[in-house]
């Protein structure tokens, strides 16, 4: 009946893990048993990824479960227990304070004494941040407008490390992780020579993107739609259209997002607030498996 507890806090380095068994495991499970149901958007806030402490991931790892009424994997965040059908307050709503206290299971982590105060601060900070999260609302029901488009999975890209820092808007728009901060035309030996539509567009075509200036924000039959915009003589930027018909993007080494410079969802990149990227260049189609970027 062992359980594994991952302290979900870091972005670049591996998270600390605590393995518990016997009485210790049972004690923690008892504290985590569901109390009152969460209300309104508390469950969604509890699992919204943030930088810093994001909660405890509890997994029952043994053949015989520590508690068969509890899910095999769930998350604990700011006293909420979420996952595997649970969306409740923990029976001990202060369970994280206990976990990270000098008597709690966290003491089993190598170097615990050195990082305990930092994590305790982070637990408090995380709770404050989660209280303040304003969840954007999508129109409901969400229609699948572009069934061939890539999934919007920002947490996969936003790791704060290798994937996030080494992949830019072109990588994200083409859904092609190269870890090289890809440049249009580079893989084909025909990189753009100026930061203009006239130069970047043919460079992307050399990478096997299909120029579709008349796409008019409509999904293609095959592949997915991307859009090239230009900050004249400064930079280029790409957006990609998702399954729900809305667009998302990754500004350089920063996190993937689905809002524009005004904080609005992007229904059409031609009309979005694009800041310095004032020139809308063209729509293009990415056929999955056809392109090569570097």
């Amino acid at each position: 009946m062992p359980i594994k507890v991952t302290i979900d806090i870091f972005s670049g380095i591996p998270n600390p893990v605590v393995e518990l068994s016997g009485k210790q495991a049972q004690d923690l499970i008892e504290r985590l048993k569901p109390g009152n149901s969460l209300v309104a958007d508390e469950a969604e806030k509890a699992v919204t990824p943030i930088l810093g402490y994001r909660g405890l991931i509890v997994e029952q790892t043994g053949a015989s479960l520590a508690d068969k009424d509890m899910p095999t994997r769930f998350r604990v965040s700011s006293g909420a227990v979420v996952g595997g059908g649970l969306a409740h307050r923990a029976a001990d709503s202060d369970v994280e304070s206990y976990f990270f206290s000098s008597k709690g299971p966290f003491k089993k982590v190598k170097g615990a004494a050195k990082i305990r105060s930092l994590i305790q601060q982070e637990v408090g900070r995380s709770a404050e941040i989660r209280d303040q999260i304003a969840l954007p609302t999508f129109p409901f029901p969400i229609p699948i407008v572009c069934s061939c488009a890539p999934l919007y999975e920002p947490s996969w890209w936003n790791d704060g490390g290798q994937k996030q820092l080494n992949n830019n808007c072109y990588n994200y728009a083409t859904n092609y992780r190269s870890d090289t901060f890809a440049q249009p035309g580079k893989a084909a030996g025909a990189m753009y020579t100026a930061l203009t539509c006239a130069s970047v567009r043919p460079a992307a075509i050399k990478d096997e993107l299909i120029d579709s200036p008349g796409a008019n924000n409509k999904c293609p039959q095959e592949g997915h739609l991307v859009a090239l915009v230009i900050a004249p003589n400064v930079d280029f930027h790409w957006f990609r259209k998702g399954r729900n018909g809305f667009w998302s993007h990754k500004p350089g080494g920063t996190a993937v997002t689905n809002v524009d410079n005004s904080g609005n969802f992007i229904s059409d990149p031609r009309t979005a607030n694009r800041g310095i990227y004032t020139v809308f260049c063209t729509f293009m189609v990415v056929k999955h498996g056809h392109i090569k970027i570097k």
């Binding site: 930092l118 601060q121 830019n168 808007c169 072109y170 901060f181 440049q183 249009p184 930061l195 970047v200 900050a231 003589n233 400064v234 930079d235 280029f236 930027h237 790409w238 993007h249 990754k250 500004p251 350089g252 080494g253 920063t254 997002t257 809002v259 524009d260 410079n261 694009r274 800041g275 310095i276 990227y277």
Partner: protein, 122 residues
């Protein structure tokens, strides 16, 4: 946060700005003399307790000074944050002096003046 200046002699400094999306962001080295000047400015700043200024999704999003010891100062819109292994601390960058001086150290042409004109920051 005063530092031991004698131990600082072995440190190296790199600076950069978060601006672009497609192109790699500009990065430049900073001399120890210039870094000391910036650190003195940091030492003179008042503590800041409020929310950090929100940066735009696209466009200039701030600049940083990274010390080879791992410490990093990030400046944006009137607040400088120092990140260390043990945590972070924010201070008021009145008239954006720290940010302005750091951006002035960028090589000519590295930062498009129409995006960030250091002389106009304050």
């Amino acid at each position: 946060m005063a530092t031991s200046r004698s131990s600082d002699r072995a440190l190296n400094y790199v600076a950069g700005a978060s601006i672009f999306s497609g192109r790699p962001d500009p990065v430049w080295t900073v001399s120890r003399v210039d870094a000391e000047r910036l650190k003195s400015l940091w030492d003179s700043m008042e503590s800041y307790e409020g929310d950090l200024p929100a940066a735009p999704v696209l466009g200039y999003r701030g600049c940083f000074l990274r010390e080879s010891s791992g410490r990093e100062w990030f400046a944006f819109n009137g607040v400088v944050t120092l990140k260390t292994a043990s945590g972070s601390e924010a201070r008021k960058d009145i008239r954006r002096r720290f940010e302005e001086q750091l951006l002035y150290l960028a090589p000519k042409g590295a930062i498009p003046p129409q995006l960030v004109d250091p002389g106009r920051l304050s």
